[in-house]
């Protein structure tokens, strides 16, 4: 008897490890399935049903194949921070981490102190290898973060409000003020970062200033001016770019406060002091969209990486979401009772974090537009990492929040205090690295946050080890695949699907009868006013009542 029972048990027995493995596999497959399968039960068309069933099966197979291939294609493991006993992750300091990690990683912790020209704002290239830092007082620096190398440095001698990389590290845009030529107007300038080697810093400066003039000059056709032509030849590349790009008047951007770049659409987005939102196609120079938000000035602008919708946080506490092809916002949501100070999007596009002046940080589910969680605290700047950690910073303190319960409940993960008096302007997680870059009033710093970055990069998406040839090839490819601005919408998976046929609802016979009866009943109760002027003749009254 006992033997038998054991046998039966033996058949049904699945080792716990294997069960865990299969569950893990299911999770992986789910990731690649990109949503639920279509419901084919409601379909009438048998032929279509068959075709779709075949397709669904194919999707399932490919997702499984991708999940299985993960083992070989993605060998690197992500970073982690594990504590024992009464240790708490948020008590662990950067010095302790630096002692534990390898020497290559410990070099990623640094502080660059530049007290003169701050506060600094930052931007990182898609692969996370290059960084551009912009000091408010006109210092622009382009850095290679892998080799810890300064590639190029400019001093533009005017206020720089924001800086953003365009499609690769060769180009970046800076929102700055030109008080010489354009007379206290803020203009947007496009630099050829890392120009040809023989250009000196001084000459670059000079020419760039002349380049500013060129917007006006081009229109007046002062190319006869020999000095200017000589200058044009001198800077060759950068001027050529501007000329080829044939940008419209950059003044249109106005006093740009924040910049963003939609790299799939080649759209440069800016919001200016007056709350005007601009979308400019940088390949053609065309101004695709120019909208007045009308919701007050805004200090926060972010792009949702999932659908490339631009979100702007306003001083009235609303967050509005925009696409370049409509003058009205797609979404207008009241998030805070005070001005919105910072915005951040999770990479899956379903989670948004907003911070308001009234000491609240809120996490929103963008599928339902509902608050998931409200946390206390100020945040001047926020950023989500690839693995979903949220960095918030205010004053000189950076806090990292993490979702460890798996139910989108963010809790304290790590913290880092800068030296007292430093004002943090920008925090950014480096993609594909466990590093957080911080731009502050005294320069910029970099700290280690284990478990923040995606450990496996894709050579065709963003490659930190990109060679020049690969970069050139990718530029051409991305230009070929440039998306039209119409493809920006709240749900990008809708593209290519058919609008469901709306059936005209005919009233049933019963309904029609009822409607008729109701009308008759209604007509019966109408009492007509007696009208004079011969209408009240008894014969006519009789005829009228008969008609009814």
């Amino acid at each position: 008897m006992g033997v038998k029972a054991a046998n039966v048990d033996g058949i049904n027995f699945v080792p716990a490890v294997e069960q865990g493995v299969s569950e893990e596999e299911d999770m992986k497959v789910k990731k690649y399935l990109r949503g639920e399968a279509a419901d084919l039960g409601a379909l009438q068309d048998k032929k279509l049903k068959g075709q779709l069933a075949v397709r669904e099966e194919l999707y399932g197979k490919s997702a499984q194949a991708a999940a299985k291939a993960e083992k070989w294609l993605m060998p690197s493991e992500g970073g982690y921070l594990e504590v024992e006993g009464i240790e708490k992750t948020w008590r662990i300091r950067q010095e302790a981490i630096a002692r534990e990690v390898d020497i290559l990683s410990s070099r990623k912790q640094f502080d660059i102190v530049l007290p003169e020209l701050g506060p600094y704002t930052l931007d990182l290239s898609l692969s996370g290898r290059y960084m551009v830092a912009a000091g408010r007082k006109g210092h622009l620096a382009l850095l290679d973060m892998k080799n810890m190398d300064l590639i190029k440095e400019f001093q533009v001698r005017e206020t720089v409000r924001d800086v953003v990389f365009l499609h690769n590290q060769k180009l970046f845009a800076a929102a700055q003020k030109n008080n010489i030529v354009l007379r206290f107007d803020f203009v947007l300038l496009l630099f050829q970062g890392a120009c040809s080697g023989n250009l000196k810093l001084g000459s670059t400066n000079l020419v760039l200033r002349k380049g500013d003039c060129m917007w006006i000059i081009n229109q007046c056709k002062i190319l006869e001016n020999k000095d200017l032509v000589q200058d044009l030849i001198d800077v060759g590349k950068s001027i050529k770019f501007i000329r080829n790009g044939d940008f419209q008047n950059p003044e249109e951007h106005g006093a740009a406060a924040r910049l963003q770049f939609l790299n799939k659409h080649f759209l440069l987005t800016s919001i200016n002091k007056l709350g005007q939102l601009h979308f400019q196609d940088i390949t053609t120079g065309e101004m695709v969209g120019n909208f007045r938000t009308g919701l007050g000035r805004s200090d926060a602008m972010e792009v949702n990486p999932f659908n490339n919708v631009t979100a702007v946080g306003h001083s009235g506490g609303t967050v509005s979401m925009w696409k370049p092809t409509s003058a009205a916002p797609l979404v207008k949501m009241l998030c805070h009772r005070g001005p919105v100070t910072a915005l951040a999007f999770h990479s899956n596009g379903h989670l948004m974090a907003t911070a308001g002046m009234e000491r609240k940080i809120k996490l929103w589910d963008l599928r339902k537009f509902e608050v998931l969680q409200t946390l206390p605290g100020h945040a001047k700047t926020m950023n989500f990492s690839q693995k979903g950690l949220l960095a918030t910073a205010t004053g000189s303190y950076v806090q990292i929040l993490g979702d460890f319960s798996g139910s989108q409940e963010y809790s304290r993960y790590m913290g880092h205090s800068m030296a007292k008096g430093y004002q943090i302007r920008k925090v950014l997680f480096r993609p594909y690295e466990d590093v957080l870059a911080i731009g502050h009033s005294m320069g910029w710093s970099s700290i280690l946050i284990p478990g923040s970055g995606e450990p496996n990069f894709d050579t065709w998406v963003a490659n930190p080890f990109e060679t020049r040839k690969q970069r050139n090839e990718k530029e051409v490819r991305s230009l070929l695949d440039k998306l039209p601005p119409e493809t920006i919408m709240l749900d990008p998976t809708k593209i290519g699907s058919m609008r469901p046929t709306r059936k005209k609802e005919h009233p049933t016979k019963k309904e029609r009868e009822e409607e008729k009866e109701a009308a008759v009943e209604g007509a019966k109760s109408i009492s007509f006013k007696k009208k004079t002027k011969g209408r009240s003749k008894s014969s006519k009254v009789a005829r009228r009542s008969k008609k009814l």
Binding site: V83, G349, E433, Q470, I495, G496
Partner: protein
């Protein structure tokens, strides 16, 4: 405390030597690739545009005949070889790769009307209006390639003279027999100078015939009495017959679904039929604006090519109501014969302007050997294009074709005419008493006596010519009449079973005595 952070050494992620290939790492996480659908859509759009840019279907013309090309035959055993016969009695063998004549077969006195090659590829059969059937030895391909002289002349293997002019010939698949069409359908053996069997149904001339590729004894013919008849050689009597509204110029069986055939009709349409169920057409292929002269199926059975009197060649899907492709040039005149090449990648057309023309079956296909990367790219673009083909912008680009002005005008005129006809019948039905204009169906009429069938046929003819009853059938342009023939052999005449072996087969005069 345990800490690990991502740390990549450059050596592990870059190549060791400059000769090595660059290292490639993949991560298929959907979060890394956003806007997938939009990207695919843009790629589909540019693939459709590229297809239009690379659509250069015309490869070249083959010049040599001095009269209109009337018929063609492809060699099932040799990809490059194609035979063509012209109205002046000239037969040529062409090499498609070099587009030159390899060999000529002189002998016919009048127009060559039919050409066919035996399935083993050794024997060419030709027939013509000079009432002769000629058998030729097909030159061996290896010799053909080395021999460069174009005035290579072949001698006929046999010449069989018969009583009437011939209109078409086709060879049985994997057999010894071939059939000719003329005043009646004659079945011949390679070695007999007289037909071994002949069939007749009605008195009109049979103008085309085609053996079934799957069932070697089944034969479909069309005659100038507007009929399509299916014969079974084993029954020794016609099996089925339908009568169309206009004459059928040519018939082709689907090689992959051999129960289906498609008939090229005078009324500008092609009709696909299931040979087992002739009461309605499975599909009507419309697009030509003049009589369809010839039709040939692709060996894949998924599409067929038609040549028309309107000077165009069209390619249809086997189940598509409208053509996938239209080919035309300024110099191409009325097309009398078309063939799909045996590898389904080329189309050959022979026209009134004495030329054969070689076209690509897929207009924008890249010829030559493709690198694996190129092939993958083409496959990918084809797949995304197929995925987004229903979107209006992609659809518009894919559908667009440049048409000659004459065709464009004729097509729009035809559209107006058919629309008017449709409206007229609709109104007539709306204004007549119910049941008066019921759907007329002449389907599945079974007669045990063929004479009954003929009487009925006569009545039907009468009705049709008087045009008193508006016919309305499911396939809306053809009226089908099916007669299942009885077992009684009344119209099939048998030739003597045995021919004395001593009789010299080469002398046709003796045979006629």
């Amino acid at each position: 405390m345990k800490v690990k952070v991502i740390s990549r050494s450059t050596d592990e992620f870059t190549r060791e030597r400059s000769q090595d290939l660059q290292r490639v790492f993949r991560n298929f996480d959907p979060n890394l690739r956003t806007q997938e659908k939009a990207t695919e859509y843009v790629r589909a759009l540019s693939a459709a545009k590229l297809d239009k840019i690379f659509a250069r279907p015309f490869i070249g013309a083959m010049d040599g005949h001095i009269d209109a090309v009337s018929c063609m035959a492809k060699n099932p055993n040799h990809l490059k070889g194609v035979f063509s016969g012209s109205m002046d009695g000239d037969i040529r063998l062409w090499d498609l790769a070099t587009r030159r004549t390899v060999c000529q077969f002189p002998g016919h006195q009048g127009a060559v009307r039919g050409l066919t090659v035996s399935t083993d590829g050794h024997v060419l059969v030709s027939c013509g209006t000079d009432s002769t059937v000629r058998l030729w030895n097909v030159p061996i391909p290896s010799l053909m390639a080395s021999d460069d002289s174009s005035d290579n002349e072949a001698k006929p293997l046999a010449v069989y003279v018969w009583k009437n002019a011939f209109w078409a010939v086709d060879h049985q698949w994997d057999g010894e027999l071939f059939a000719t069409a003329g005043a009646q359908v004659d079945i011949w053996n390679h070695n007999r100078s007289q037909p071994v069997n002949s069939f007749e149904w009605g008195k009109d001339t049979t103008i085309s015939l085609r053996f079934n590729p799957g069932e070697p004894n089944i034969l479909a013919t069309s005659a100038s009495d507007r009929s399509i008849t299916i014969y079974d050689l084993r029954l020794s009597s016609p099996a089925r017959k339908i009568i169309m509204r206009t004459k059928t110029n040519s018939i082709a069986w689907n090689p992959m679904e051999p129960m289906n055939f498609t008939a090229a009709n005078e009324d500008c349409n092609c009709y696909s039929y299931d040979a087992r169920k002739l009461d309605e057409a499975r599909c009507v292929h419309k697009d030509h604006v003049s009589a369809v002269m010839d039709i040939d199926y692709s060996p894949t059975g998924r599409e067929f090519v038609t040549g028309s009197y309107d000077r165009t060649v069209r390619i249809f899907q086997y189940n598509g109501g409208h053509s996938r492709e239209i080919y035309h040039t300024k110099r191409m005149q009325r097309v009398f014969c078309v063939k799909f090449s045996c590898d389904a990648s080329y189309v050959i057309s022979g026209s009134d302007d004495t030329n054969l023309r070689l076209w690509k079956a897929k207009a924008s296909e890249q010829l030559g050997v493709l690198l694996p990367r190129e092939r993958k790219k083409h496959e990918y673009l084809e797949a995304v294009k197929n995925r987004y083909k229903h979107l209006p912008e992609v659809k518009r680009i894919v559908r667009h074709r440049h048409l000659p002005k004459a065709i464009y005008k004729a097509a729009s005129l035809r559209r107006i005419m058919t629309e008017a006809e449709r409206k007229r019948t609709e109104r007539r039905r709306a204004h007549s008493a119910p049941g008066m204009l019921g759907r007329q169906k002449f389907s599945s009429i079974c007669n045990n006596q063929t004479s009954h069938a003929e009487v009925f046929l006569f009545l039907w003819e009468l009705l049709h010519h008087l045009d008193t009853i508006p016919f309305d059938n499911i396939c809306n342009d053809s009226i089908s009449l099916t007669v299942h023939a009885s077992a009684s052999p009344c119209s099939a005449s048998r030739t003597p079973e045995k021919i004395p072996s001593a009789m010299p087969s080469g002398d046709p005069a003796d045979l006629l005595q």
